[in-house]
């Protein structure tokens, strides 16, 4: 039985359960992707376990016309946007039914139909491309805002400076979303900048910014909603920094031996999924049985995705020579 292939943009309603649900899907997807990688030696995967609230909170605030640029840690953004776990996993495994026909693998997945465009695994790549995408929006009279996800590491690349400055001067409709997860591969953010908040770098360009608890999905959604409103109203870019933490390693496998165990433990206590589950249990929106049922349902979906992905054939060798020129 193959999982259905979803190509429609997910529209989030007011139901907070949907936020939780999506975060759980992402978590289980990424853990499965990591497992598959270990078992079958699939191409190197970067997960964003611990950062689900940022992905879901921001994407939930977007409209269907808005566009997304993402990077090497894209699964959360794609799944929140409605990507099919089956096709995403197929792509991660380099299979024909993946979003990019298997050519991307897990590192540069775009899904144009979902408005997830031009994913680059060059750190900073998304910052350089976002201005162009936003210029198209602006000049071609499209209303959608461009949400550009990037890390605290990308903020150290020169393109961050060039992109923010140009976006400010040209008043481009970009929501810069910095997922400050305290890590830049194997380097702690603290070693790379004197400030703790990347948002502090936005103001001198004339870009408004805000910092939000990136592990609180409802807070992120609210902050992103406000930021988007500000962009649409003022016709100026905005930088939203989500303060979060990369709970797994840089890529799979990574024993995280270099991570301060106390810091890691303290952030584990702030796991965005547990946080939201506790909140919804607390508010009586769901009970433990409901949660368990949800877990089972999502696990089944991920199982089906894995079956689909593994069953999907590799692309034909002739594909080596296609899609080079238009």
């Amino acid at each position: 039985m193959l999982a259905e292939v979803n190509v429609t943009i997910r529209r989030f309603g007011a139901d907070p359960l949907e936020l939780l649900n999506t975060m759980m899907l992402i978590r289980m997807y990424e853990e499965r992707a990591a497992l598959l990688q270990r078992e079958s030696g699939a191409p190197g995967t970067c997960t964003a376990v611990g950062q689900e609230a940022t992905a879901v909170g921001v994407v939930a605030a977007l409209g269907v016309d808005d566009l997304i640029l993402t990077n090497h840690r894209s699964a959360g953004h794609l799944l929140a946007r409605g990507a099919s776990p089956s096709r995403l996993l197929a792509e991660a495994l380099g299979r024909r039914d993946g979003y990019c026909g298997g050519k991307s693998g897990s590192l540069h997945v775009s899904a144009r139909d979902l408005g997830v465009v031009l994913t680059s695994t060059i750190v900073g790549g998304e910052l350089a491309l976002a201005t162009g995408v936003a210029l198209s929006q602006q000049m071609l009279g499209r209303t959608g805002v461009v949400a550009c996800f990037f890390g605290d590491g990308a903020a150290c690349e020169g393109r961050f400076h060039e992109s923010l400055n140009l976006a400010a001067v040209w008043r481009l409709p970009i929501l810069y979303v910095c997922e400050n997860n305290e890590w830049q591969a194997f380097v702690h953010r603290r070693e790379t900048m004197l400030t703790d908040s990347v948002a502090a770098w936005a103001q001198p360009y004339g870009i408004d910014s805000a910092t939000v608890d990136g592990n609180d999905v409802e807070a992120v959604r609210a902050a992103a909603t406000e930021a988007l409103a500000s962009i649409r109203k003022n016709g100026r870019p905005f930088l939203l920094e989500a303060q979060t933490y990369r709970l797994r390693g840089h890529f799979e496998p990574d024993d995280q031996g270099y991570v301060d165990q106390q810091e890691l433990a303290s952030w584990r206590l702030r796991d965005p999924l547990s946080k939201m589950q506790a909140r919804l249990l607390d508010q009586g929106i769901i009970d433990q049985a409901g949660l368990d049922a949800l877990s089972v349902e999502i696990a089944q979906c991920i199982d089906a995705a894995a079956v689909f992905a593994i069953a999907s054939p590799y692309p034909a060798v002739a594909e080596l020579h296609t899609d080079i020129f238009a």
């Binding site: 991307s104 031009l118 162009g132 060039e162 140009l166």
Partner: protein, 323 residues
């Protein structure tokens, strides 16, 4: 018709394509200041001065190209492309492929290069071979006023990223534009002079060097064909092969360093494919493996000389089995 310079031909091509297609926009450091007529005709929205940051100029072009615009960017001098390599190579050249064909990148990046203005190696570095070596990009480097115009138009209409190099030494040369413009496609070489004994293969400024060499050779009774590649990628292999199959001798001439240059590719390709008809090795005349000096006489000496081309042909014609 009044003769125009290469720079004017470029302006004409830009103006005509911008008039033809509202999606064509022009961006770069000073384009709106220096190309006032374009600014006046098409407005500040489509003719955009940018901050001084080649990376984001190129990145903006790449992002815009994938989503509906057809940007032309003026990156001034070729060495400045070093700041835009990620956007040109890793994004424009690869993201169509890596996305399984979801995006196309119709954009043109213009840059000047070559000897003539004594500006030194940080303004003058013939790096076209880098982009020929790189997947997903096209590379154009014309030699005649008419080609500058028609090939820039073709580059703008192409659905792929095109590097368009302007040889500085040609910038102010004048030429006639044909009354009836020929629709040239990228990837078509042209024979500048017909010959039977050897083929001189070149592009940009050194096409002229080859033409002068051919004239010298003619006096010696050697008839040299001069082939102007015009587009370096895609390469007009058929034209190169046809000529060399006929003449049996070839010299490739360019100002860029020989080492891994376009001449190396053509020499290797010709040797592989025309071995049986070759009367001698394919020879190369190219710039030294050195940065370009600013000092004027040194800079001139950097460029392949007529005499170098002539003596290469002599080497091929005088010894039946050369080397």
């Amino acid at each position: 018709m009044k003769p125009v310079t290469v720079l004017e031909a470029i302006d004409q091509a830009l103006a005509e394509e911008m008039a033809h297609d509202p999606r064509v926009i022009l961006m770069g450091e000073g384009v709106a200041t220096k190309r006032k007529a374009l600014l006046a005709e098409f407005g500040a929205d489509r003719v955009r001065n940018t901050p001084l940051a080649e990376g984001i100029i190129a990145g903006t072009a790449v992002g815009a190209a994938a989503t509906g615009l057809r940007p032309v960017i003026d990156l001034l001098f070729a060495p400045f492309l070093c700041y835009a390599m990620d956007e040109l190579v890793n994004s424009a050249g690869k993201l169509r492929y890596l996305s399984g064909g979801q995006f196309a990148f119709p954009l043109v990046a213009i840059a000047m290069t070559g000897a003539g203005w004594g500006v030194g190696a940080q303004h003058n570095h013939n790096i076209e071979a880098w982009f020929v070596h790189t997947p997903g990009l096209k590379v154009v480097m014309p030699s005649s006023v008419a080609d500058f115009k028609s090939l820039l138009k073709a580059a703008i209409r192409d659905d792929n990223p095109v590097l368009f190099f302007v040889d500085i030494g040609l910038a102010h040369t004048e030429g006639e534009l044909p009354a009836q413009e020929a629709a040239v496609r990228l990837g078509e070489a042209v024979v500048r002079r017909i010959g039977e004994d050897a083929t001189l293969i070149s592009y940009a400024k050194t096409v002229g060097v080859c033409e002068r060499a051919a004239a010298v050779l003619a006096e010696e009774g050697v008839s040299a064909e001069v082939l102007d590649l015009r587009t370096l990628k895609p390469l007009d292999e058929a034209a190169v092969l046809a000529s060399v199959r006929r003449t049996g001798r070839a010299v490739v001439v360019h100002e860029a360093s020989r080492n891994c240059g376009v001449g190396a590719e053509i020499a290797a390709m010709l040797t592989e494919q025309t071995w049986a008809t070759l009367k001698g090795p394919v020879l190369r005349v190219g710039g030294p493996d050195a940065p370009a000096p600013a000092s004027y006489p040194l800079e001139q000496a950097y460029v392949p000389q007529v005499e170098d081309v002539v003596s290469s042909v002599r080497r091929l014609t005088r010894s039946a089995a050369a080397a």
